[in-house]
Structures are given as structure tokens and as C-alpha cells.
């Protein structure tokens, strides 16, 4: 399977500040990758570089093309939602569909219209008359009707009601994604995407601190509810995070190579898979880097 995005020592500096610090990663086709990191960690910069929106140093190939010099060609197969509410206020629903149908060879008008028929959007409506949720619905209708090989979503649901957010990801999974497509998502709301992701990439201070598939993460990280009397034994196994829930200590362990074994951990107490959010918090604390 060929790589959709391949980065080798990708670097981006803004003056003296290094936003992306020589990162390497590969995203194969047919995956849904979550690029997760705090504000200013370099995740949006990485995506911008991949979309040919900014110059950068190092090597980066997207669908085999260089986004710096072959952007026009690349955009035939790549689509992105960069932020919510970036559709221009004067745009009407029917004009938006006409325009995208006119300029995009891979746009399926029927699909967009079918999707819009399921919303409260009307063909004559202008973006300025819509709520934020409706704008995202329109944007998603346009983007989902494009048969792109790579879809990049940068904080696509920022500032939306929970109902719209749930629906957004549900539509994405049910009506859009298939094995020929690749989706890269950045978001703050880890818990919302963790069930649809196939891969995770944690990024901090311009560096990738964790890149693994969800299965690998499930195998590697274990959360244990440790009773008081076994706490010192548990601490000896070097947990990467600890917190207290209802008076009980919950410890997070890296059970990968060189870490504690599953049997050791099972002896300490009740084990379960940690949520991506907990893993994220633990990773970003700096105890593991």
C-alpha cells in the first residue's frame, strides 16, 4: 500500500520560532488519522504544509506530489475543511453547489443535493442567514460529494453543538469513508473522534511524540485501578500517569517493550484500555516524551 502522506525531516520556522521541528511520518491509504496536540504544537502547520498553503523545509510528498510545486495538480485529489464558518457570507446554497460542480471534476452533485435535502438548508439560503451548524452542514455536503483521495479536517467541529458534532462524524464515517480514502483530522475534542480513528499521532512542540495504530495503542497502554495496599508495588513499575477516581488510584502503564508486562499489571488490580483523552493528557504532561 503506497503512502498518502510521507514526511521526512519536515521543518517549518516562523522567524526564530520553530513550529514543526524536523518530523518524519507516513500515512498509508485507507486510514483515519487523528493528529492531536495542544494549541501551538504544530499540527495545523503540518497540515498547511501538506496542503501546499505554506513554504517549508525538508521533504513532504502528498499522493506522490510536492505540495509546493504541484499544488494545482494535488488539489484535484485532496480536499480540506480548514476551520468552521469559512464559507463566504454572500454565498447561496445553490450557487455553492453550482460553483463546486463547475470547477471540480470529481464532484457528485446528486450526492450533495441528497445530503442537503436531509437538512434544513434551502437552495436559496445565503450563508449569512445560517447558524454555525448549518454552515458546517453545507460545507460538509460540498466536501463529502467530492471523491477525493485525501480529506484533511482541521478542527472541523470547533464551536458546534454536540448534536451537530456527533452527526458530523457519523456522516463522515457512514457516507464518505471507504478503503480508498484517507482522512486526517485534528481536534481538541479527542473523545469525539477516538471511536472513528484507525491511527493516532500525538504532536507536541513541533515533534511527534506518539504515532501508532489504535490496535497498537490498545495492546500497549493499560490503565489499572490499584487498591491502596498495592500502590507502592504499582509505583515501582513506573506508571506514566496517575490520578484518583472516587478515592481509588488509577495508574496508566506503558506495557510495550521494556515496560511492565500484562500479567504484572493484572496482579495489581482491575485493568482496562485507557481512553485516548487520558492517554493524551498523560503524554502531554511531559512524564513521557
Amino acid at each position: 500500500m503506497s503512502a498518502v502522506i510521507e514526511a521526512r525531516s519536515l521543518t517549518k520556522r516562523y522567524g526564530k520560532r520553530t513550529a514543526v521541528d524536523g518530523i518524519d511520518f507516513t500515512i498509508p491509504a485507507g486510514r483515519i488519522v487523528g493528529l492531536i496536540g495542544p494549541n501551538g504544537s504544530g499540527k495545523t502547520t503540518t497540515l498547511k504544509a501538506a496542503l501546499g498553503l505554506i513554504p517549508f523545509e525538508g521533504q513532504l510528498s502528498v499522493l506522490g506530489l510536492d505540495p509546493r510545486t504541484q499544488r494545482d495538480e494535488l488539489m484535484q485529489d485532496v480536499c480540506f475543511i480548514a476551520d468552521v464558518a469559512i464559507l463566504p457570507r454572500w454565498l447561496r446554497v445553490r450557487d455553492a453547489i453550482d460553483f463546486v460542480a463547475g470547477v471540480h471534476p470529481r464532484f457528485n452533485r446528486d450526492k450533495a443535493e441528497r445530503y442537503i435535502a436531509n437538512t434544513k438548508l434551502l437552495p436559496s439560503m445565503k450563508v449569512k442567514e445560517m447558524s454555525k451548524g448549518m454552515i458546517v452542514q453545507l460545507h460538509l455536503a460540498l466536501v463529502m460529494a467530492i471523491d477525493a483521495k485525501l480529506l484533511v479536517l482541521d478542527e472541523p467541529t470547533l464551536g458546534l453543538d454536540i448534536i451537530y458534532r456527533k452527526q458530523f462524524y457519523q456522516n463522515l464515517l457512514e457516507d464518505y469513508f471507504d478503503e480508498h480514502k484517507t482522512i486526517v483530522i485534528t481536534t481538541h475534542q479527542v473523545e469525539e473522534v477516538e471511536h472513528i480513528l484507525t491511527d493516532l499521532m500525538f504532536i507536541r512542540d513541533g515533534r511527534i511524540v506518539l504515532a501508532a495504530s489504535m490496535e497498537e495503542i490498545g495492546e500497549r497502554y493499560v490503565e489499572v485501578m490499584v487498591p491502596q495496599e498495592k500502590l507502592s508495588a504499582a509505583n515501582a513499575l513506573q506508571p506514566i500517569d496517575r490520578r484518583t477516581v472516587f478515592g481509588k488510584a488509577v495508574l496508566l502503564f506503558d506495557a510495550g517493550p521494556g515496560g511492565a508486562s500484562r500479567q504484572q499489571l493484572a496482579a495489581l488490580g482491575e485493568t482496562r484500555n485507557p481512553s485516548v483523552a487520558d492517554l493524551f493528557v498523560a503524554t502531554m504532561k511531559g512524564t513521557y516524551a
Binding site: 499544488r71 480548514a82 469559512i86 464559507l87 470547477v103 471534476p105
Partner: protein
């Protein structure tokens, strides 16, 4: 797939610009044109009905009788019709062209700035539409589409006024319809206006290029930058020049051109500005015995393209548009 795509994409880009600016490019001139028709139409009607046409006018020794005017005095009738036609064209098109100047100015200033301000540029850039094509579509909208719409509306307004005038005259017994339909001015005037469009494009290019460059570059207040930079540089150059003259008696060579450059950069989009740049007003615009002579406007306008001046502006305008394309391609929108 991608071979005929360029032309097709351009068509949609032009349509998009029109959707966004329908208000200023179509409705504003339409409403003003309609107001002009009503106001001028009423004035003409009132003037003719209240004062009437003198029952007996003597021209060249002939006593004029309205119903047979055409037969008796073919030359005078033709002249009169020609005068009325030209008068209507000037009357209706001048205010519309004034509006066009403002519309094109602010359109260019906002063309590459508004999409950055509301971040919709990221939506446009998510589609397979290249930066050169986008910028060119905006320049074409400013240079050709907006002027062509204004031109068409000016012709419609003029023809409406003309029919009103003839109709009112006919109620007074003076029927000019036949003479009007036979008058070459009726058919040539719209063509003459249309023929001026290429001249307009040439002279407007440096201004459109400059405004769109500022539009693609300014972080905020594009108007201040677009007007401020040329005006402040002009003042500074003048000041240095004056100081130099005082001290050494020498003047900057630059100072001689500064006025022209600033005028070309900011005022190129005014229709007919080329007569001013030529250093003399258009002879045709001066009230001659038989009203403005519009037929002379076209050759005189094309004559303005003979010098280097016009083409230096074209080269600079295209260079600035190219810079705007680069700016749109690489500008980081944060």
C-alpha cells in the same frame, strides 16, 4: 478533462465574482440609470410640454413646419436628431461611469483582501482552482465585466431617454422617429462606447494591478495603504525636491514624473482619463456648434495608445498582478 477545464473554471470564477458583487456592479448602476431616466425624462417632458416647440422657427430662411420638417429640411433634422442622440448618451452615461469608477476601485481593493479577512480563501483554496486563474478572473471582472455591464446599462438608459424625448415631441406634432431610425448616430453610439472598452482596459491596468497588489498584501486597511503610499511618497518627493532646489538649485528628475505616476496608479480606472494623461482635453468633448462630437472620441482614444506611456503602464500592471498571484499563493493566513 483538464484541457477544457481552464476555460470552464474561468467561466465559473467570473460568475462567482458577479454573485458576490451583483449589488455594486449591477443593481447600483441599474437603479441610478433608472433614476436618471425618470429625472431626465420628466425634465424633458416638462420642458417640451410647458414651453412647447415654437410654432414657427425659421432656419436658413425656411419657415419650419413640424410635420413636414423631415421633407423640407433633411439636413437640419438629421443634425437635430444627432444632437439629441449624443446629448442623451452623454447625459445618461456620465453619472454611470462615475459610479463605475468607485465600484471598480473598491472592488479591486477588496478582491484579494476580503477573502483573507473572512478566511473564505481557505475554502476557495480547497478547490482545484489555481491562484493565477483566480487573480486573473478578478482582474477581468474589474477591467471588462464591470465596465461592460455599465456600458450596456448606459446604452439602455440612453435609448429609453431617446424614445421618451421623441414620443413627447410627437405629441407636439414633431415626429422624429423616422429621422431617428435613419440616423447613423443611433446605431453607432453604442458601438463607439463598446469600442472604447479596449482603451479603458489598457489605461486601467496599472491602477487595477496596484489596487489588487495592495489587496493581496495589506494585513488591514487596504484603502489607507493603496492611497497613502502613493500620496505620501508624492509629498516626500515634492518636499525633497523643494529643499534641493533651495539649496543647490537642482531638482530631482523623479519629481517631474511623480505626479503622473501617482495619477496613473490611482486614477487609471476613470473612464476617459486617457485624455487627461495625453495632456489635452478631448476636442470632441468640448461643446462644439452641434454638441459633443462623439465620433471623434474613438480615434482620439486609440491615438492615446500610440505612445510608450500606455504600454509601460500595461507592463507594470501585469507585473503587479503577477506579484498579487505570488502573494495569494504563499501568504500564510494564520
Amino acid at each position: 478533462m483538464s484541457t477544457n477545464n481552464g476555460a470552464d473554471t474561468m467561466k465559473w470564477l467570473l460568475r462567482r465574482e458577479f454573485w458576490e458583487h451583483k449589488g455594486s456592479m449591477f443593481w447600483a448602476p441599474l437603479i441610478v440609470g433608472a433614476l436618471l431616466v425618470v429625472l431626465l425624462g420628466c425634465t424633458i417632458t416638462y420642458g417640451i410640454i410647458a414651453h412647447g416647440i415654437p410654432a414657427h422657427v425659421t432656419i436658413n430662411g425656411h419657415t419650419l413646419q413640424h410635420p413636414r420638417l423631415d421633407a423640407l429640411l433633411p439636413d437640419e433634422t438629421r443634425m437635430m436628431v444627432g444632437m439629441i442622440t449624443r446629448g442623451m448618451y452623454l447625459g445618461a452615461s456620465t453619472p454611470l461611469f462615475a459610479i463605475l469608477t468607485g465600484v471598480v476601485f473598491f472592488y479591486c481593493l477588496g478582491a484579494l483582501y476580503d477573502e483573507r479577512r473572512d478566511r473564505s480563501i481557505l475554502f476557495w483554496k480547497s478547490l482545484p482552482v489555481s491562484d493565477p486563474l483566480t487573480v486573473v478572473s478578478k482582474a477581468v471582472t474589474a477591467l471588462i465585466v464591470a465596465p461592460a455591464i455599465t456600458l450596456a446599462l448606459a446604452v439602455v438608459a440612453s435609448l429609453t431617454l431617446l424614445s421618451i424625448a421623441c414620443m413627447v415631441l410627437s405629441t407636439q406634432g414633431l415626429n422624429l422617429f423616422a429621422a431617428l431610425l435613419a440616423s447613423p448616430d443611433l446605431y453607432l453610439s453604442p458601438l463607439r462606447l463598446a469600442a472604447l472598452l479596449p482603451v479603458y482596459v489598457v489605461w486601467a491596468l496599472p491602477t487595477v494591478g496596484w489596487l489588487m497588489l495592495v489587496s493581496s498584501w495589506a494585513k488591514s486597511k487596504p484603502f489607507m495603504w493603496a492611497v497613502g503610499v502613493p500620496v505620501v511618497s508624492l509629498v516626500v518627493i515634492k518636499w525633497i525636491n523643494a529643499a534641493l532646489e533651495n539649496f543647490s538649485g537642482q531638482t530631482l528628475l523623479l519629481a517631474h514624473y511623480a505626479n503622473d505616476v501617482v495619477a496613473r496608479i490611482l486614477a487609471g480606472i476613470v473612464p476617459g482619463i486617457w485624455f487627461v494623461f495625453q495632456g489635452h482635453g478631448p476636442a470632441g468633448m468640448r461643446p462644439a456648434g452641434n454638441g459633443a462630437d462623439m465620433s471623434a472620441l474613438v480615434p482620439q482614444s486609440y491615438l492615446s495608445l500610440a505612445g510608450f506611456d500606455a504600454w509601460i503602464g500595461v507592463v507594470l500592471g501585469i507585473a503587479m498582478l503577477y506579484a498579487a498571484i505570488r502573494m495569494r499563493r504563499w501568504r500564510d493566513e494564520g
